[in-house]
């Protein structure tokens, strides 16, 4: 599982935020577009793309996109 692909999938959930603004180090909750609905979109993406169940707490406890990547990666193995 590759981080660049994950970041692209993560960025794909956003509509008003340009993909170039989102990197592994992005603190996604500080983005203007971030909302509870986007949290659901990220959970759905993890299920669809990686067959991994992300919990609400995983998102709550994460700061950067890479934090989420690490959770998904650890559950994928």
């Amino acid at each position: 599982m590759e981080i660049n692909e994950f970041v692209a999938n993560f960025a794909n959930q956003f509509e008003d935020t340009d993909a170039s603004e989102i990197t592994a180090a992005t603190e996604f909750k500080t983005l203007d577009e971030w909302s509870s609905l986007l949290a659901l979109a990220v959970i759905a993406m993890a299920d669809e793309e990686y067959e991994v169940t992300l919990k609400g707490d995983d998102i709550r406890n994460a700061t950067t996109v890479e934090d989420i990547f690490n959770v998904v990666k650890s559950r994928k193995q």
Binding site: W34, S36, L40, T53, I59
Partner: protein, 322 residues
Amino acid sequence: MPKGVVTNEQLVAEFPEWTVEKIADKVGVCSRHVATEETAVDMAVKAAELLFDEHVDIKREDIDFVLLCTQSPDYFLPSSSCIIQHRLGLPVCCGAFDFNLGCSGYIYGLAVAKGLIAAGVAKNILLLTAETYNKYLHPRDKGNRTIFGDAATATIVSDEGFAEIGDFALGTDGSGAENLMLKTGASRFHEKTGDLTFDENGNPHSSDFLFMNGGEIFNFTQKNVPIVVRQTLDKNGLSVEDTNLAVFHQANKFMLEFLRKKIKIPRERFFVNMADIGNTVSNSIPIALKDAQEQNLLHGNILLCGFGVGYSWGGVVLKITT
């Protein structure tokens, strides 16, 4: 529906970070009805009155059971269904009770009604659903105020009619109770706590208002709904292809679309009608059925599936006979 309407424009005025288009696009709701003066019981009575007006062949004196699904009763006691029996002028030889369920409630109501009829306990059951979740929401709870609408419905379940109630698959998992909960006011925590806090996105969290952990509810749904749909179809000896229309609890557009794709139901056989209604909890399936009927979409096998607070879920197939 109650008289009051809250539009996306009104919500955006209160929450400038939302846009009207985004709510409509993602959540699938443009406006929702909100009860202010009316209670769920008032609305249930009105729904039943409309049913009797619309179907003059259904006589009040023939009703021998009232079932009310609500989580917004008028009082702790008596059962709201007793008050409704009196207000509707139904016979005193009528049985009546409330049951406390949310988004799965209509399926359970059909199951209980079918059981009462099959056992010969009752012949003509007035099944009511009525909910006013908006009364339980904090005014700053943007997400839930966007999703939930208030409503009531009335259905007659009898030993004759336009649809035969098939076999059920039901499920419960109380381990998820805390993920959709209004904690205070009842017996365990009778007094309000006043423990209101706001998270980093400005969303309120309080034991005194309805709380929904959206992520966990989403996970519960995407895990359990495909399973209960398969169980329901198996019990009725059907496949997805044999289903003429699927009417799911109208949770929100995002979740419905996710489930539809996961279960592989073609878009044209998957009913979505929440744009002017919102998520009306136990009312969503009967409202959708009524709308589907008016659009002449009820033919053959209709798959119903409700899921939510509890966790509680259930599915059934209606076989349209006319």
